[in-house]
C-alpha cells in the first residue's frame, strides 16, 4: 500500500512538471505519513546524501570542466583532432568524434562535450555545406563517449548510488574499451553517412602542423593522465584528484593558454554551483526516497518480480536495458542513475552480474536517453547550437542510434569488454 502511494505520488508529481527533487521528497513524505514515520528522518536522510564524501568529487570535476570549456583547452583539442582525422570522409564529422573522445577524457561530461566541441564544430560544418542534421547528430552521438571515460561524473554518481562500495577506479577503467568501441562505431557510421551525402575530407595540413598542434594540446591532455594515474596509484583519492584537476585547469588556462579571464572564471563558478545544486539536490531527495524504498523492501520485490519473468543473466540484463532506454526517453540521466541504481543493481547482483559491468551498461543505456526526445538534454543543446528542430535532427539520427545500440549490445553480451581492464589494473 505505502509503496503504491510512494510510486503513484512520485509519478503524478513528475507528470505535472514538478522538479524531480521535489517530486521525490514530497512523494516520500506522503508515503512516510501513511506509514506513520517521523518527517525529520527524511530530512536527516536528505542531508546525509547531500553532503556525502563519495559525491564530493562531482562538483569539483564539474568546476574543472567549466574552466576547461572557457579556457581554451577544447579549442586546441579540436585543432589537433582536425589535423589527425580531418582528411577522412566526412572530415569535420570525424574531427568531432576524435575531439569529443579527447575532450571527454578531460571533462567527463557529455553536456560539457557537446557545448565545447559542438559549439565550435557544428557551425563550421554547416558553413562547409554539411546538412544541419548531420552536423548535430555526429556531435551529439560523439558526446556520449565522455560518459564512459575518466573522469565521468556519472560513473561517480553510479558508485555513490550503489552505496559507495564499487571502486571508482574500476569503473573508470571499465569504461575505456566500450568508449573506444563507441568512438569507432560512430566514426564508421559518420563515414557511411558522409559517403552517401557526398561529404569529402579536409586537406591534410602536413606533419609539422600535426606536431605543432599536438604540442599545443599536450598541457590540456596531460590532465587526463594526472587524474587517472593519481587515483590509480593511490597518490590521490578521487576527491583530491578532482581538486588537482581544478587547480591544474586554472594554471593551464591562465598561465599557459592565457585564455581564461576573470569574467570567464566567474561564469565557470556560476555554472558549476548551479549544476552542483541541481545534481546534489536530486541526490539528497533520492536518498530519502531510496531509504523508504529499502524500508519497504522494494529492491527485494524487484528481484522477485524479475526472477518470475527472466531465467538467465543475459535476459535479465536485456530487460533492464530496455527499461532504462524507455525511462531514459523522459528522464534526465543524473536522476535516472540515482533512482534506478538501488532498484536494478540488487537484481543484477542476484543474477551474478559484476556490479562494475552493470555500471557500464547502466551509464551507456541512460546515456542514450540523452539523445532521445521528449527529454534529451544533449540532443536539445546540439539542436540549439545547429539551429534546427529537434524533430528534424532525430530524423537523421537513426544510423547513430543503431551504432550505439550495437555497442550497448556488445557491452551487455561480452563482459570482458568492460571487465578486462579493471582485472588487469588489480
Amino acid at each position: 500500500m505505502a509503496l503504491g502511494v510512494l510510486f503513484a505520488a512520485f509519478a503524478g508529481l513528475l507528470l505535472i512538471g514538478t522538479p524531480v527533487a521535489a517530486a521525490l521528497a514530497v512523494s516520500t513524505l506522503i508515503a512516510a505519513l501513511v506509514l506513520g514515520l517521523p518527517e525529520i528522518a527524511l530530512v536527516q536522510q536528505m542531508t546525509a546524501n547531500l553532503s556525502s564524501v563519495s559525491l564530493l568529487a562531482i562538483p569539483l570535476f564539474v568546476f574543472a570542466g567549466e574552466l576547461m570549456l572557457r579556457g581554451g583547452i577544447s579549442e586546441r583539442i579540436i585543432s589537433l583532432a582536425a589535423a589527425l582525422v580531418g582528411r577522412i570522409k566526412g572530415g569535420l564529422g570525424q574531427v568531432s568524434v576524435v575531439a569529443s573522445t579527447l575532450f571527454g577524457g578531460v571533462s567527463g561530461s557529455a553536456i560539457a562535450d557537446v557545448s565545447a566541441v559542438g559549439g565550435a564544430l557544428i557551425p563550421q560544418m554547416i558553413e562547409r555545406g554539411y546538412q544541419k542534421d548531420f552536423a548535430v547528430n555526429v556531435t551529439i552521438s560523439a558526446a556520449l563517449i565522455a560518459l564512459l571515460v575518466p573522469p565521468s561524473h556519472n560513473m561517480i554518481l553510479f558508485s555513490a548510488a550503489a552505496g559507495g562500495g564499487i571502486s571508482i577506479t574500476d569503473l573508470f577503467l571499465a569504461g575505456i574499451f566500450p568508449a573506444l568501441l563507441l568512438a569507432i562505431a560512430i566514426m564508421v557510421t559518420t563515414y557511411l553517412v558522409a559517403r552517401k551525402r557526398g561529404y569529402e575530407g579536409e586537406p591534410f595540413p602536413g606533419f609539422p602542423v600535426v606536431l605543432r598542434r599536438l604540442v599545443s594540446a599536450i598541457p590540456g591532455l596531460l590532465l587526463v593522465g594526472i587524474i587517472f594515474f593519481g587515483i590509480k596509484s593511490g597518490i590521490f583519492t578521487a576527491i583530491e584528484s578532482a581538486t588537482i584537476a581544478v587547480i591544474y585547469a586554472c594554471l593551464i588556462t591562465v598561465l599557459v593558454y592565457r585564455k581564461l579571464k576573470w569574467k570567464d572564471f566567474v561564469h565557470a563558478i556560476s555554472g558549476a554551483v548551479q549544476s552542483t545544486g541541481r545534481i546534489l539536490f536530486v541526490i539528497g531527495a533520492a536518498g530519502a526516497f531510496g531509504w523508504l524504498m529499502a524500508y519497504l523492501q522494494a529492491p527485494a520485490m524487484a528481484v522477485e518480480a524479475m526472477q518470475a519473468v527472466a531465467h538467465d543473466k543475459t535476459m535479465v540484463l536485456l530487460l533492464m536495458v530496455l527499461a532504462l532506454l524507455i525511462l531514459g526517453t523522459f528522464m534526465d540521466m543524473a536522476p535516472l542513475v540515482i533512482i534506478a541504481t538501488p532498484i536494478f543493481l540488487p537484481v543484477a547482483r542476484a543474477y551474478g552480474v559484476d556490479p562494475v559491468h552493470f555500471g557500464v551498461i547502466m551509464i551507456l543505456s541512460c546515456g542514450i536517453g540523452l539523445l532521445t526526445p521528449p527529454v534529451g538534454s544533449v540532443l536539445f543543446i546540439g539542436a540549439a547550437i545547429g539551429k534546427i528542430d529537434v524533430a528534424q535532427a532525430v530524423k537523421g539520427l537513426w544510423p547513430f542510434y543503431i551504432a550505439m545500440l550495437v555497442v550497448l549490445l556488445a557491452v551487455v553480451l561480452w563482459p570482458p569488454l568492460s571487465l578486462s581492464l579493471p582485472a588487469w589494473g588489480r
Partner: protein, 180 residues
C-alpha cells in the same frame, strides 16, 4: 517556464530578490572555491608537511552542503532543476497554470520543510562535537536550514508571479496595473 535570468520586469532595476539571488550565487561560489582550497591543503599537508589533517573532510562536507543548497535555491528561482514539464506544457492553459502552481508549491513546501527541520537538527546537534574537526555537528544542518528558506522564498516568488501572470484571463485591469 524557465527564466534564465530571473530578473524583475524590464526596468533593468534589481529588486530585493535579485540581490538575494546574487548573494546566493556568491555564497555558493565562495564555498566551492573553499572546498578546492581545503582539499588542496590536505594534499599539501600530507605530502609536504607529512601531517594529514583530519578536519579537511568534515569541513569540505559542510562547504559542499552550502554550495548545493544555495545552488539549488538559485535553480528554484531560474527553474532550471531537472524536471519533465513537457506534458504539463502541452495541456490547456488553465490546467498548465494549475500544474505549475502545484509544482512551485511543492518546491516551496520542500524548502520550508528542509528549513524547519534543518533548524531543529542544527539546534539538537549544536553541542555535539563533529568527528575530526573542532566544530559543532549542528553546522552540517545549518546550510540546509538557511538554504531551505531561501529556496522556499524563490519558489514562492515564482508561484506568486505565475499566478499574477495569468491575471489577464480573469481581470484585465489588474494586468494593466501590474505591467505599468
Amino acid at each position: 517556464m524557465t527564466n534564465e535570468t530571473g530578473k524583475t520586469g524590464g526596468t533593468g532595476r534589481k529588486g530585493l530578490l535579485d540581490w538575494l539571488e546574487t548573494a546566493s550565487l556568491v555564497i555558493a561560489g565562495v564555498s566551492l572555491v573553499a572546498v578546492v582550497a581545503v582539499q588542496a591543503w590536505q594534499v599539501f599537508a600530507r605530502y609536504v608537511l607529512n601531517d594529514s589533517p583530519s578536519w579537511t573532510e568534515p569541513m569540505a562536507l559542510v562547504l559542499i552542503a552550502i554550495t548545493a543548497m544555495f545552488g539549488a535555491a538559485v535553480g528554484a528561482r531560474r527553474e532550471t532543476h531537472f524536471g519533465f514539464p513537457l506534458l504539463a506544457d502541452a495541456a490547456p492553459p488553465f490546467i498548465r497554470g494549475a500544474c505549475r502552481a502545484v509544482s512551485r508549491l511543492a518546491m516551496a513546501g520542500l524548502g520550508a520543510g528542509l528549513s524547519w527541520y534543518g533548524w531543529v537538527l542544527t539546534i539538537d546537534a549544536w553541542n555535539v562535537p563533529m568527528a575530526g574537526a573542532p566544530l559543532p555537528t549542528g553546522l552540517r544542518f545549518l546550510p540546509v536550514a538557511i538554504g531551505g528558506i531561501v529556496l522556499a522564498v524563490f519558489a514562492l516568488e515564482r508561484l506568486v508571479r505565475g499566478l499574477m501572470e495569468r491575471a489577464p484571463e480573469v481581470a484585465p485591469s489588474a494586468a494593466v496595473v501590474e505591467t505599468a
